[in-house]
Structure formats: structure tokens, C-alpha cells
């Protein structure tokens, strides 16, 4: 039976079902965030709270969606992937169902902020990890296809308004909860698969010194992730150097989110005309989706290492943002939107593949958790910082400079990857000499 479970990453076949599930998860997770803006107005009328209080609900939901990543990793270790995903679905839909009986804003903070946030973190984390197990060569393309689900959510705003007009917000929340339950059958598609990790990542064996021990290494890294008794001293040392490269990516992710968070709404604020806003948003969505697909496909061709692409896109994002204050007329704003959407789509599609490349398959769970945690902190702190900058300077240029700098800073850590690799490849040499 063991022999049947160990299979090579499929890069297709049942993997496309996983892509479908990840697609649906992206749709729902993004839908929750976007439709919240519509419910915001409704809650303000109903409960007569201040914008700040109601804004907390959305902030908790968005922040927990990332920050609960480590928790999701732990629960996944305990329960397994399918149960965690189903648990996440029940949290999301249960949260929405209970919210329909809301009596006040603190109630909503728990039922519409905490519960769906946790649930979506579980869902997202599990889906991302399973897709890395199923895809290796086509990871970029498959992730990009799945992430294109985020672009579809612009259809959901009119749908939400329609539901609220028909059934009032209580009925609309109940129906959303029911629609979210559709993720249960799609979570059941997550068949467990155990894959061999072939040492084909960037940490290539530079010299022939490691090739002799190559077969032992591959045995050791065959992933039963909780198989700690097989990890020898070499395993531990590899873990440590992994940690180094991983921390770099994690911090870089945080930097991205710092930039990305406050930036999204600012574009809308800069253009005052409503029709322009709609144009910007729709063009941005379409361009970003297409750019993600192209970037994923290019990265999969492996012409150069994936993190180089990532670095390239991040730098371009930063430069675009730094130049953004120059865009004052409609054509310039449109050009900024399109360029930024192209580069943002490029790097978004590559987050997961780069993460997988820089870590071993086994540790994707934990590192994704760490990265999500830092991203969550950035998401929580980004908008208030941008708002403070605006209040202080009374223009939006400051926020754009801040966002551009964050992007550039996040690309800096990727420059250190070759250094980290060299340091890591030196470690086993030392170990081997001591063993001898």
C-alpha cells in the first residue's frame, strides 16, 4: 500500500480538480472581502455605528485571513487536509448564518469578522499546500488559473445588492452562508497524496561532494512530514539553512502586503468620477488576471529561476508606484493602473511557486503559515499608516511613495538568495567532514 501512495507530483489529472477547488476558495475569500463594503453601508444604517467601529469588522476578517495561517498549519497537522478544509467551510458559512441574527456591532465583529476570517485562513492555507503537492512543473500556471477566481468577484457586487434589495441584509447573509457551503463538496475533492521530493529545487548540488549522499538525502526527504525520527543531523542543519532563506521570503511577503494593502483603495480615491472608478476597477481586474496567467506560464518554462522573475516584478511595482504621483490626468491614471496591474499580477502569481522553490515540500505548510502571519500583520497596519500619512500631508503622494518603497524593500531580500544558497551548500560539507 505504501508504494501506491508515494507518487510523483501529477502536474495534471486529478490536479485540475484541486485547481478548481482553489479557484472556488479564491472566489469566496475575495467575495467576502469585497461584498463587505456593501454590507458596511447597510450596517451603518441599521446599527448606526461610526465608520471606524464597523470598519473593524472588515479589518478583523482580512487580517485573520492571513494571520491565522500558523493556526491553520497546526490544525492541518492534527486533523489532516480534508477535515481542516471542511472545518473552514463550516466556520465561514456558520459565521454568516449567525450574523443574520446580529443585534449589535460587537456581535458582528465576532460572527462576521472572527469566524469567517479563521475559516478562510484554513481554506486558503490547505488549498495552497495541496496544490503545491499536486503540481511541480506547472505550479505557476495552475496557481495563476486558480487565482484568476479573484478577478471574477466584480460580478458579485451587483448580485449582493440584488439580494439585499430582495431579502434585506438578514436574508442576504443567510443566502451567502448557504452559498459558502458549496465549498464542502469541493473540499472533498482534496484527495491526499504523498509525493517524493526530488531535489530539483534551487538548492542544487553544486559540487560532486553531495552526489554520493544524494540517494540517502532523497530517502530522508521523502515526505511524511511528521517523520522526525528519520531526520539526522544533516536534516537539522538543512532545516536551519532553509529557515534562513525562508525568513527572507517571509519578510519580503510582509513588505509586499504593506504596500499592497493601502494601495488598493487609494487608486479609487484619486479619481473622483464614479464612472472612471468603475472603469479603473474593471480594467485592473482584467489586466491583473491575464497578467497572472501569462506570468505563471512564463515562470513554469523555467528559463530563469522563478525568484528572479519575482524580484523583477517587485522592483517594477515599486518604480511604478513611485512614479504614480505624476499621473494626474485620466489617460495617465489609466496607464498607471494598467502597468501596475500587469506587474502586480506578475508577482502575485509567483508567490506560491517561489515559496515552494525556496523551501522543501514538507515545510511549505509551516512557511506558508509564517508568511501569512506576517502578511496579516501588514494588512492590519497598512491602511491606518496610509491614512495617517494622508492626514499628515493632505495629499496622496506620500502614500504612493510609501507603497513604492515597501515594494522595493521587499525585493531586496531576494537579492540575498544566492548568498543563502552558498551558505547552505557549505553546511553539509562541514558536517560530512566531521562525520568522517
Amino acid at each position: 500500500m505504501n508504494r501506491e501512495e508515494k507518487a510523483k507530483p501529477l502536474d495534471g489529472g486529478w490536479g485540475w480538480m484541486i485547481v478548481l477547488h482553489f479557484f472556488l476558495v479564491n472566489v469566496f475569500v475575495m467575495a467576502m472581502t469585497k461584498t463587505f463594503a456593501i454590507f458596511f453601508v447597510v450596517f451603518q444604517e441599521e446599527f448606526e455605528g461610526t465608520s471606524e467601529q464597523i470598519g473593524w469588522i472588515g479589518s478583523i476578517m482580512s487580517a485573520l485571513r492571513f494571520s491565522a495561517g500558523p493556526l491553520a498549519a497546526i490544525i492541518c497537522d492534527i486533523l489532516g487536509e480534508k477535515p481542516t478544509s471542511i472545518l473552514g467551510t463550516f466556520l465561514v458559512s456558520g459565521g454568516y448564518l449567525v450574523s443574520s441574527w446580529a443585534t449589535g456591532i460587537p456581535f458582528l465583529c465576532v460572527t462576521m469578522g472572527l469566524l469567517p476570517g479563521l475559516g478562510s485562513a484554513f481554506l486558503y492555507q490547505v488549498a495552497a499546500v495541496v496544490i503545491t503537492k499536486y503540481f511541480k512543473k506547472r505550479l505557476g500556471l495552475s496557481t495563476a488559473i486558480a487565482r484568476s477566481g479573484m478577478g471574477l468577484t466584480f460580478l458579485l457586487a451587483p448580485f449582493t445588492k440584488f439580494l439585499i434589495d430582495l431579502y434585506d441584509w438578514t436574508g442576504a447573509l443567510i443566502l451567502f452562508g448557504a452559498i459558502a457551503l458549496n465549498l464542502v463538496p469541493s473540499s472533498m475533492l482534496l484527495r491526499p497524496i504523498h509525493t517524493e521530493t526530488v531535489n530539483n529545487s534551487d538548492i542544487k548540488n553544486k559540487g560532486s561532494s553531495l552526489s554520493a549522499t544524494g540517494s540517502e538525502a532523497s530517502d530522508r526527504t521523502e515526505t511524511y512530514c511528521n517523520d522526525t525520527q528519520e531526520s539526522s543531523i544533516q536534516g537539522i542543519s538543512m532545516k536551519k539553512s532553509d529557515q534562513l532563506t525562508k525568513n527572507l521570503t517571509v519578510l519580503e511577503h510582509q513588505g509586499e502586503e504593506f504596500g499592497n494593502g493601502p494601495h488598493r483603495n487609494r487608486l479609487l480615491l484619486m479619481s473622483n468620477d464614479k464612472s472612471y472608478q468603475k472603469k479603473f476597477v474593471s480594467w485592473k481586474c482584467i489586466t491583473e488576471t491575464v497578467s497572472q496567467l501569462i506570468s505563471g506560464w512564463i515562470a513554469d518554462q523555467n528559463w530563469i529561476k522563478k525568484y528572479q522573475y519575482h524580484k523583477f516584478y517587485l522592483i517594477l511595482c515599486g518604480v511604478t508606484n513611485l512614479l504614480a504621483p505624476l499621473a494626474t490626468t485620466f489617460p495617465l491614471l489609466m496607464a498607471y493602473t494598467i502597468f501596475f496591474a500587469i506587474f502586480a499580477g506578475g508577482y502575485l502569481a509567483l508567490i506560491l511557486p517561489v515559496l515552494v522553490d525556496l523551501s522543501k515540500n514538507c515545510r511549505v505548510h509551516k512557511f506558508l503559515g509564517y508568511a501569512s502571519f506576517f502578511a496579516g500583520m501588514a494588512v492590519l497596519s497598512g491602511p491606518p499608516i496610509a491614512g495617517w500619512i494622508y492626514d499628515y500631508t493632505q495629499t496622496y503622494t506620500g502614500s504612493f511613495y510609501f507603497s513604492g518603497t515597501c515594494y522595493l524593500l521587499s525585493s531586496v531580500s531576494l537579492f540575498f538568495v544566492p548568498l543563502a544558497e552558498r551558505w547552505k551548500s557549505k553546511q553539509p560539507d562541514l558536517r560530512r567532514t566531521t562525520i568522517k
Partner: protein
Amino acid sequence: MRSLTGPRAFVAPGCPLVLLCLLVATCPYRAEGDPTDSSFTSLPVREEMMAKYSNLSLESHNISLTEESSSPVEKNITLEKPSDLELLCQFTPSGDLNSVNVTWKKDGELLENIDVFNTTKVGNTLYSQYRFIIFNSKQMGSYSCFFDGEKELRGTFNIRVPGVHGKNKPLITYVGDSTVLKCECHNGLPLNWTWYTSNGSVQVPIDVHKNDKYVINGSYANETRLRVKHLLEEDGGSYWCRAAFQLGESEEHIELVVLSFMVPLKPFLAIIAEVILLVAIILLCEVYTQKKKHDPDDGKEFEQIEQLKSDDSNGIENNAAPRLRKNESVEQ
């Protein structure tokens, strides 16, 4: 004051007979109709009015017309309290000023008392001023000044009470809930508010004291809230809020829709049924594929057992060779 110069000139010599003649002469004006009624009664009564409404605010509104303005020029005036109103139209014709005639109309009817209007010419511009006191709702409406020269030009002053705003969309609630219908007035302070509900096509005022169902209150004078408790399906329908001012009333219509719980429950149950169906399909598929795996597995295990048996029988012969090799490595 200007309007009194004419008659006063006769009165000044102090002839009571002339006064009687004057009263008789002015009778036809009084009989004629409402539009001139106000302007005529303002003649002798004006000082009384000024005394009665001691703090009348002077509202002055201006329309300037040129020959290029093809569409009629309109100005909206909102008044809630009695005021001393001055409407001024000015027109600069390209041709001769003297050929232009000015007339005033209220809601299409000609205002005939020319003495109330003051038409002056300054340079090349013709000014026509209509000054009067508005103190009741009959005076509200559209006042227009007409200049008929080469082209007929019109300027209109729309005098209305402040409007009331409610919700444009129907208010959706559920049976057993309580809801609040809100009306507010942005431009003024109503004297009082009343709520009406519809009984067929008739407006029925809502009696707050009849039972505990309706409560009317408002935090500010320019808004009113009707709270309806223990909603039933019959409570759905049209509601009107009416704001009363000194110069008239304005009302707004609000639609209330009361749904029973079954209405959103049906799509909810439909979606749950669809989810359960999908789950059942996937479970069945998984059981089916697992069965398929087990059956060939049984076959495979059988084959493996056979192979092991044959290996065993062959292995006795091969055992010597590996043992030798092992001994060699140990020695090294």
C-alpha cells in the same frame, strides 16, 4: 408705498366722496379672481401685515434674460415662513427698449394689477419688479415674467415649500420584527409631522394612542420617525409622512414590504439540497473508485503471493551468493 401714490393723490385733498368713488371703482378688481386677490389685499392691508408678521424676512430673487437664452429660465425658491418677497426680472434687448412689454403671470393666469409691478429702465436694461407678501398657501406656485419684444422671453420663479425626503427604495422587513420609517426635511423646520397609512386608495392618519403598535418620535425637528412594532404581513403597503409649514404642506411616500420567513428560506433550502446532492455524488464516486482499487488489489496480492512462493523456491539456490558478498563486506 409706491403703489399708494396713485390713489393717495386723490385722497390727499380730503374728499370723502372721492374716497367712496374710489372704493366703488376698486370693487371690480376684488371680484375678479384669486390671483389678483393677494396683490390687491396687500394694498391697504400691507401695513397690517407688516405689523402682524413683525420679523418678515426680505427675500430677493433675480432672473436676468438675454435674447440668446432660448430655453425658459427658471429659479426655484423654497419658503417655509411668510416673507416679504421681491421678484426681479431684468432684460437687455438688442433693439429698442420701448417696444418691449412686460407681463406677469401666476400659474398661467395673468396678474392684472399693474400698479403692483414696478418697471424701470436703466440704460439699456429693462427691470421689472414684483414685490408682495406671501402669507398663505394659496400664494405658492409659479410666477413668470414675460418680455414680448421681437422674441417672447420668459423667466419663472417656482415658489414651493421645502420638500421632504424619505427612502426611495421599498423597506423590506420580516414578520415579527419592528422597523423604523424615517422622513426628513433638509431645507426647513416643519411645524409638525403626521403619518398616514393607506387603506385601499384612501389615506388614513395613524393614531399613536390606539395601541402600542406605532410610536412617532424624532430626535430633531427636521426629521420624524415612525416605529412599527410586531409587524404582520398586512402592515405592508404605502405610508405617507406629511410635513406642515405655515405656507403649506409637503409629503413623501414610503413603501413597506413585510416578508414571511418562508420567502428567503426557499432559496436557502434549495442551495442546501444542491450541496447535499453534490456531497452524495462525490462520496459515491469515492466509494466506487475504492471498490475498484480493492478488487484488482486482491488480484495483485494473489499474484504477489505466488511470486513470493516462486522466489522462495528459487531463493534457496541464490542464498549462497549474497551471503558470500556480505561476508566480504564485513571483512573489509
